[in-house]
């Protein structure tokens, strides 16, 4: 379970995980799949080979889970995969052996997510121990924190 990949893969059922988009229509701060990883686009530039060549798009993305950097280049007319990303807010009810109990707006409880092993995770634990009430935003099944 240490691999956050699994969290991503099992996140949503039914909905397609990606959809195609023309490369030139991608935007900075938007999302794209680079080398099989869902990334947020942090840099986008174009270039061409020769004065009469067609535009190519150079993309730099940051993996939304691992923060690893990926780069890619493709003709601007090509289609790239864009990951479907969902954000759901849950209220944190409990932490049990490293797993969180999360309650959604409609009262459903899920207990399949670990407290992440990073700064956000530690912040969650500290806040929880301090008795704060707060929401946890789950991004396609992994955590980022938004204190309430």
């Amino acid at each position: 379970m240490a691999d956050p990949d699994l969290d991503f893969q099992t996140g949503e059922s039914g909905a397609s995980a990606t959809y195609p988009m023309q490369c030139s229509a991608l935007r900075k701060n938007g999302y794209v799949v680079l080398k099989g990883r869902p990334c947020k686009i942090v840099e986008m530039s174009t270039s061409k080979t020769g004065k009469h060549g067609h535009a190519k798009v150079n993309l730099v993305g940051i993996d939304i889970f691992t923060n690893k950097k990926y780069e890619d280049m493709c003709p601007s007319t090509h289609n790239m995969d864009v990951p479907s990303i969902k954000r759901i807010d849950y209220q944190l009810v409990n932490i049990n052996e490293g797993y969180m109990s999360l309650m959604s707006d409609n009262g459903d409880i899920r207990e399949d997510l670990r407290v992440p092993d990073n700064d956000v995770g530690r912040e969650i634990e500290t806040k929880f121990e301090a008795g704060d009430e707060f929401m946890v935003t789950v991004l396609s099944s992994f955590c980022t924190l938004e204190p309430l």
Binding site: S24, A25, T49, K51, H52, H54, I85
Partner: protein, 1144 residues
């Protein structure tokens, strides 16, 4: 005199300190280093160190100590000047000179420093007349005549040091004397000393140029004197009663006393001779050519009359021609020669140029023509070789610029004298840009063509901007020789288009057989594209100008050309050629009887048609996006000038042009339709080429931004289809970049204000704007909007809507503002709601603020009171939400980049835009809204601009740290904003909370004292209204106290510091109002300043000047007339005593 008692100890101490300073960093500690520095500093400050310094110079072996001793002498002489006996100064100077003469092996930096000390002594003494300058020139003259190269070099160093000291420039040493002193020295020097240096230099050059062969050492001396001559000729001559500070590219404007020296033809001849002798040495050639270029720039009182100027120029041109003719120009000569030509063409009046003997003038023009063509070819070669140093390109640019100057003044010259040269230069330009066999593009010297595909990034400018200066000149020359150039461009372009068409067809067949794109040889295609690229660029620059903000006119040469041939033209055939871009022009019967101007446009349309057909045949991948850009760029430039040509703007109009493109002509209608199809096709085919899409949508905006053109556009069915397609956000338009979408929206809105019957108009808006509103409302009113708002699809929809709103605001014109304002207002409040929803997405927040910025920017100046108030209210709410969200927002400040503060910049822009209404207001009586609302009475006014802006300032001020002011865009916007506020709402400033008030005052002071002059000026402008405000109110407010502080700052700035003269007016106005407010403090400042003067003469001059300054305005009152009088006196004051107190 102080004996050298203890001298050995001092020397030992200095020498060990020098050792520390010279040691590598790892060997000594910082403290040791600082201590050593301190030793030297205090040594240089010691009283009368002359004896010990002499002793050091004579005994020490450490160069650095020698250097410091020289410096100490220089500083002490200046410091103790009045106390010293003139004879001892004289002997000191003699000692230093002899010292250097006797030690030829001194380190260069030590020698230069000692000579500097000599020069400073001479300069300091020159005004006292205590030390005669003449003696030093006499001595130097003797050194020169010694014939010993080492001694001659030394003499040159002395002269160079004198030149730097007297030039009163950045090279001059600071000796703690007033700028007036420096200026006076310089003025005296340029009448006497400088000319003597020049004459001495000429003697040396004369001597050397006579010698047959020079050894290395001699030619080194030669080079130094040549450089010195260049320095003299580049002297920035001071006009009387003026203290100028350094400017760049000084032209030669000597005073009358130089007549004998510089009008002597032997001097100019000498420089030509010198250049001939050394031209193969690239370093020296640069100096000799620069000397000639300075001589070619000579102007001013040196010429007693025009005939003197004419004979001077004639001699110069003769010399130049005989120098150039018969030699093969070296690479290192190109720039220098073009500078000579460019200077003489710019500096000599046309009447003098035309007064040259006609044969000489013709030879000159012919020579210039050949030179231009030759430099052009060499420049092309440089590009092929991808050289770093593009000397020929620079030289070519210079010459083309000179041609432009000449041709623009054509009416002064004999009729038609530039036609043949223009043809030659034009032809050679075209030739260099076309591929073989017609041209020589990419051919290296040995005739082998190179073709490499380099990576080009998006930052590289397009040729049309990169070479816009060259293209403007070539276009202008093309107009001068329109008879030749327009038909030439047409036939070349038609030929290339036919070939492109054939090549694409062949490639298509090849692809049907193999279907592998990789197997296509792109070389032939790329060559054709590059040819077409340049032909279209030149055609565009020839046929039309692109003036910003004005209606461009058809160039008179083009109009005359078309009129001249209109009798030979068959108008029907011309229209037929124009109307059938799909056919080969030459296949149309009678094609040689067409109007050439229309024919050239037709050739571009044929290019466009081949491109469009290729896209329909799925050959887009083979096409060149660059060529696509060129085509729409040309069509836009052309349409602005020619489409629906307005006959009222011209004295005479060509029949073919008015028949083809005039109002109510079939031709105009056809071409609008054609252009529209082109735009629509491009937007769907080229959505992946951002720049091409951008150029395309700009063409569309051009088509609809003029009502007359828009009227035709909206009659086209395809326009309506485009509108519907865009409104439904369906492919392919939604793939376009956001800036293109924004402009597209702008175009669609502009089109909506064309002439249509009311039903049609209603229908149009129903198609264009209502879907936008509907989709938006449907989305945000969904029950679960809060939940789905972060989904990508939803976000994209929101972003697209916001972009569209910006586009709509950009389309605002005076006659549509009423309806657009109402439409946009409905959105603004919903947008504020989105601020909460997207508080985590800065880019969306920025876009929301941008909508407000655009609405305020484009519309506020037209809005009447009630409408403005609505907008103010909306902006206030926006600011409130922004402020609330901002409190919880974290910014990663450590490595923050400018774009992280985009929101702050936008907020300031919004506030500035709101304030701008106070300056620019076109809304007299809500006239544009006449039938809409009958204005609510002013008493019910709820929100004022002041409320909004001050609320905004409350948010902005605490966020603007000094670090943020380092970002130029933030800094400029911030100061623009606070100046506006002080000017418009000075009464609100005292009401600010204390800390805000303090930080505002601090910002003003900071801006005044340590920012660019532009910002300093803004801050000064803010002070007058603040002072006036104070005068109206209580006298002990914090603002009153703050203005007292500003009085001192402005006073110091004007009187004591070297300030930018452009700022005198702003500073003067501020000073005057501050003086009115604080008269006692002002008197005190003047008193303090006067009492610090020890020199009685200066005291009196200053006291008189201060009296005169306020004489016309005593007692000072805030009265316009008095203020103007004060400003006038201030100007005199600065000219009179400004240099007295400003010390260097």
């Amino acid at each position: 005199m102080m004996a050298a008692v203890g001298a050995p100890e001092v020397i030992t101490q200095l020498e060990s300190a020098a050792k520390v300073l010279m040691a590598p960093p790892s060997m000594v500690s910082t403290e040791q280093r600082q201590h050593a520095e301190h030793v030297f500093l205090s040594f240089r400050k010691s009283k009368s160190p002359f004896a010990i310094c002499k002793h050091i110079l004579e005994t020490s072996k450490v160069d650095y100590v020698l250097f410091q001793a020289a410096t100490a002498i220089m500083e002490a002489v200046v410091r103790e000047w009045i106390l010293l006996e003139k004879t001892s100064i004289e002997s000191l100077r003699a000692f230093l000179l002899t010292y250097v003469l006797q030690r030829p092996n001194l380190q260069k930096y030590v020698r230069e420093q000692i000579l500097l000390a000599v020069a400073v002594i001479v300069k300091r003494g020159s005004l006292d007349k205590s030390i005669s300058c003449k003696s030093i020139f006499h001595e130097v003259g003797q050194l020169i005549s010694s014939g010993n190269p080492t001694v001659q070099t030394l003499a040159c160093s002395i002269l160079t040091a004198l030149l730097s000291e007297f030039s009163s420039s950045s090279k001059t040493s600071s000796i703690g004397l007033s700028m007036e002193f420096h200026g006076n020295c310089k003025r005296l020097f340029q009448e006497e000393g400088l000319r003597q240096i020049f004459m001495l230099t000429m003697e040396v050059l004369q001597e050397f140029s006579r010698r047959e062969n020079l050894n290395a050492q001699m030619s080194c001396v030669f080079q130094r004197y040549l450089a010195l001559a260049n320095q003299v000729l580049s002297w920035n001559f001071l006009p009387p009663n003026h203290i100028l500070f350094a400017t760049q590219n000084v032209t030669l404007k000597p005073t009358e006393t130089w007549r004998e020296a510089l009008l002597d033809t032997r001097i100019m001849d000498l420089f030509f001779t010198v250049h001939r002798k050394i031209r193969e040495d690239s370093d020296m050639a640069q100096d000799s050519l620069q000397c000639l270029a300075q001589l070619a720039s000579m102007h001013g009182p040196i010429f007693p009359d025009e005939s003197a100027q004419i004979s001077y120029l004639a001699h110069l041109v003769e010399g130049l021609l005989s120098m150039i003719n018969g030699i093969e120009i070296e690479d290192s000569e190109a720039v220098g020669i073009s500078n000579i030509i460019s200077n003489l063409i710019t500096m000599f009046p046309r009447s003098v140029l035309t007064a040259l003997p006609s044969e000489l003038f013709t030879s000159f023009i012919n020579c210039l023509t050949l030179l231009t063509c030759s430099f052009g070819r060499s420049a092309a070669l440089e590009e092929v070789l991808d050289k770093d140093d593009m000397v020929y390109m620079d030289a070519y640019d210079k010459l083309l610029e000179s041609w432009l100057t000449l041709v623009q003044d054509e009416e002064h010259f004999p009729r038609g004298c530039f036609v043949q040269p223009a043809i030659q230069v034009f032809n050679s330009y075209i030739q260099c840009h076309l591929a073989a066999p017609d041209g020589t593009r990419n051919l290296s010297v040995n005739g082998i063509s190179s073709h490499d595909e380099e990576e080009i990034n998006e930052l590289q400018e397009d040729d049309r901007e990169l070479f816009s200066d060259q293209l403007s000149s070539i276009g202008m020359l093309g107009r001068v020789a329109a008879d030749h150039c327009i038909p030439l461009l047409t036939s070349l372009l038609e030929d290339r288009v036919t070939r492109l068409h054939g090549q694409l067809q062949r490639t298509q067949q090849h692809l049907m057989a193999s279907s592998d794109l990789g197997s296509v040889d792109r070389k032939v295609l790329d060559d054709l594209y590059e040819d077409i690229h340049w032909l279209i660029l030149v055609s565009g620059y020839l046929l039309a100008d692109d003036p910003q903000g004005e209606t461009p006119l058809i160039p008179s040469e083009v109009m005359e050309f078309s009129i001249k041939h209109s009798t030979e033209v068959d108008i029907n055939t011309t229209l037929q050629i124009l109307g059938s871009p799909g056919e080969k022009a030459s296949s149309i019967p009678g094609c040689n009887r067409t109007d050439s101007v229309i024919r050239l446009l037709s050739a571009v349309l044929r290019t466009s048609e081949v491109e469009s057909r290729a896209t329909r045949a799925s050959l887009t991948e083979l096409l060149s996006p660059q060529m696509g850009k060129d085509i729409v760029w040309f069509l836009r430039r052309w349409a602005k000038t020619y489409l629906l040509v307005d006959e009222k703007l011209y004295e005479q109009i060509s029949m073919p042009l008015s028949t083809a493109f005039g109002a109510d002509t079939e031709g105009a209608q056809w071409i609008v339709g054609y252009l529209l199809e082109k735009v629509i096709n491009n937007l769907s085919v080229w959505s992946s080429e951002a720049e091409l899409a951008n150029d395309t949508v700009e063409l569309l905006v051009t088509l609809v931004e003029k009502r007359e053109r828009a009227n035709i556009v909206v009659q086209c069915e395809s326009w309506w289809n485009l509108a519907k397609q865009f409104a439904s956000r369906s492919p392919p338009l939604h793939l376009l970049s956001s800036s293109v979408q924004r402009s597209l929206m702008k175009a669609l809105v502009l089109g909506g204000f064309a002439h249509m019957d009311s039903d049609t108009k209603q229908q149009y808006w129903a198609e264009v704007l209502h879907p936008l509103q509907q989709r938006f409302l449907n989305l945000i009113n969904q029950e679960n909007f809060a939940q789905i708002s972060q989904e990508e699809a939803v976000k994209q929809e929101i972003v697209a809507t916001l972009e569209a709103l910006c586009g709509i605001a950009e389309a605002t014109q005076i006659d549509n503002v009423a309806s657009l304002f109402s439409f946009l207002m409905d959105f603004l409040s919903s947008c504020i709601g989105l601020m909460e929803v997207y508080s985590n997405t800065p880019e969306t927040i920025n876009l929301i603020i941008e909508v407000f910025v655009e609405v305020a920017h484009k519309q506020i100046c037209y809005l009447g009171e009630t409408k403005s108030m609505k907008l103010y209210e909306a902006c206030l709410t926006l600011l409130q939400v922004y402020s609330k969200n901002n409190q919880s927002r974290k910014r990663s400040d450590a490595t923050a980049e400018e774009d992280q503060y985009q929101d702050l910049l936008l907020i300031m822009e919004l506030l500035t835009n709101l304030l701008s209404k106070e300056f620019i207001d076109f809304s007299d009586t809500d006239e544009v809204f006449r039938n809409q609302d009958q204005g609510t009475p002013a008493s019910s006014r709820t929100v004022s601009a002041a409320d909004v802006v001050l609320y905004g300032v409350n948010i902005v001020l605490p966020l603007m740290s000094q670090d943020l002011l380092k970002f130029p865009s933030l800094c400029n916007q911030y100061y623009k904003l606070i100046t506006f506020i002080c000017e418009i709402f000075p009464e609100k400033i005292p009401q600010l909370p204390e800390d805000l008030f303090k930080s505002l005052m601090f910002s003003l002071e900071l801006g005044m004292t340590s920012m660019s002059s532009e910002i300093s000026q803004l801050c000064l402008e803010a002070l007058s209204p603040l002072a006036e405000q104070c005068a109206k109110n209580q006298k002990d407010s914090p603002l009153f106290i703050a203005t007292r502080h500003f009085l001192k700052l402005v006073f110091d700035m004007l009187v004591l510091q070297k300030h930018n003269t452009e700022m005198t007016v702003a500073a003067g106005e501020a000073l005057y109002t501050l003086v009115c407010l604080h008269q006692a403090e002002y008197s005190e400042l003047v008193e303090t300043l006067l009492s610090s003067q020890r020199d009685a003469v200066i005291y009196q001059r200053l006291a008189d000047a201060f009296n005169k300054l306020t004489a016309s305005s005593t007692p000072p009152t805030m009265d316009r007339k008095q203020k103007v009088a004060f400003l006038k006196s201030l100007e005199e004051f600065v000219a009179n005593v400004g240099g007295l107190l400003c010390v260097k």
